[in-house]
């Protein structure tokens, strides 16, 4: 049971959502947006989050659309992970989100909720990081577009919310790998999760599980693309250049995460080799 009360609103337009946010905020209330709601409910029940008002974005057409518009795939923030898998517009995204949580949860978890999650994993962002996807946000300053890597809750202004992510059509069907290792069962948070693709002969790669936040690193990518050194050397060098503070927790130690990453990068090389 959620041990406190709150107001629940389900607007039908972007403007309406923002108007509610502003008027509740002016009354001194703590307002939050909700897409799938699974994290909001879990955190509220466990006492990790309190709020006075909830704005559910599932009634807003811009947030629930999933379609090609001109040269872009437009993904609404409130689109569920299973809808992404089933539509399969972007095979790398489908494969990556298919490993998040379990099938029933994926009927409720949304891509916007995953990208804005307070948990560090946010695996759904990996395919967007390596395709230079654009996040569309709406707020007091109207509609704004920003690189998806700027999308940390701290960087959204008061009242702003994520409405869509756009991916260029030219990036949807590139050769890719998506790999994840968990501690025991198939369902679980990642020890390491990676998404990679090849564009114009170069590998682009992003990781979750290794660090507090998912990331793509120009240095690591540069090393993995350096064909003057042997495969294993490349992997060792890339791992040595990971951001500091590799996660060390009850799921896996820092050294074990690096070991697993080493294995996955070796597997990734084998996949690329095989497809050459």
């Amino acid at each position: 049971m959620i041990p406190f009360n709150f107001d629940y609103f389900k607007p039908e337009t972007l403007e309406e959502a923002l108007k509610i946010y502003s008027s509740e905020w002016k009354l001194g209330k703590k307002v939050i947006y909700l897409s799938g709601g699974t994290e909001v409910i879990t955190f509220a029940r466990g006492g990790k989050m309190t709020f006075d008002s909830v704005i559910d974005l599932k009634g807003i057409p811009e947030c629930t659309m999933l379609e090609m518009q001109g040269d872009d795939l437009v993904i609404g923030a409130a689109v569920t992970l299973n809808r992404l898998v089933e539509s399969n517009h972007f095979p790398l995204l489908s494969k990556t989100v298919r490993t998040i949580a379990d099938h029933t949860s994926r009927n409720k978890i949304t891509i916007g909720g995953n990208l804005m999650s307070k948990l560090g994993y946010r695996e759904g962002i990996l395919p967007f990081l390596i395709t230079d996807a654009i996040a569309v946000v709406y707020g007091p300053a109207g509609t704004e577009a920003m690189p998806v890597d700027n999308l940390a809750a701290a960087e959204l202004a008061e009242g702003q919310f994520l409405t869509q992510v756009k991916v260029a059509a030219s990036n949807l069907d590139l050769p890719f790998v998506s790999m994840k290792r968990t501690r025991s069962s198939k369902v679980g948070y990642p020890i390491v999760s990676l998404a990679a693709l090849r564009k114009e002969g170069r590998i682009r790669i992003a990781f979750s599980g290794i660090h507090e936040h998912p990331f793509r690193s120009a240095v690591v990518e540069g090393i993995l693309n350096d064909e003057t050194i042997e495969d294993q050397q490349r992997i060792d060098k890339a791992i040595a250049k990971l951001p500091t503070n590799v996660t060390d927790d009850f799921i896996a130690s820092k050294d074990f995460r690096k070991f697993v990453l080493n294995k996955l990068l070796t597997e990734m090389n084998a996949v690329w080799e095989g497809s050459r």
Partner: protein, 170 residues
Amino acid sequence: MIVSNTGKYTVVSLLVNGSSQDIMIRSADTLLCTLRNQLGLTGAKQACGNGDCGACTVLVDGKPMHSCLLLTMEALNSGITTIEGLRHSPVRQAFVDNWAIQCGYCTPGFIVNGHALVTEHPDAEDERIEEWLQSNLCRCTGYQEIKDAIKSALNANNLLDSNGIDTAEQ
């Protein structure tokens, strides 16, 4: 726009197992709470409360969802099916026939999820069955009987023609 407010109970209409019911809820009530405490539908079970075990699974517009991770307010314009609405599901009978039950606490969740699987993917292969069943935990059985039950329901389903008539008996 749907609104419900703090402190007070809000009267809402919920469509459960084909019948519309007026109930009083808090905005903070999960669907699991509402089903069990307001409607007396205790088939969906409270266990982890975190989306990890599947004991609370119900169908929302035909899709399996964890009712512990759904606000009742989110389900207002949807059709909800609980285990109580699946008395005649072939999956329920398959669980009996295959001895797929021990203590029974997880069983409603498995049957509801299995029913959605059989309906949505009547020709589901092992990989899909595995993927769907990962959403439910059972602490008693070894899962084999549960898989057997789902498979036998899938096979039986394939013997029904599009009108739901058992072609094997004709």
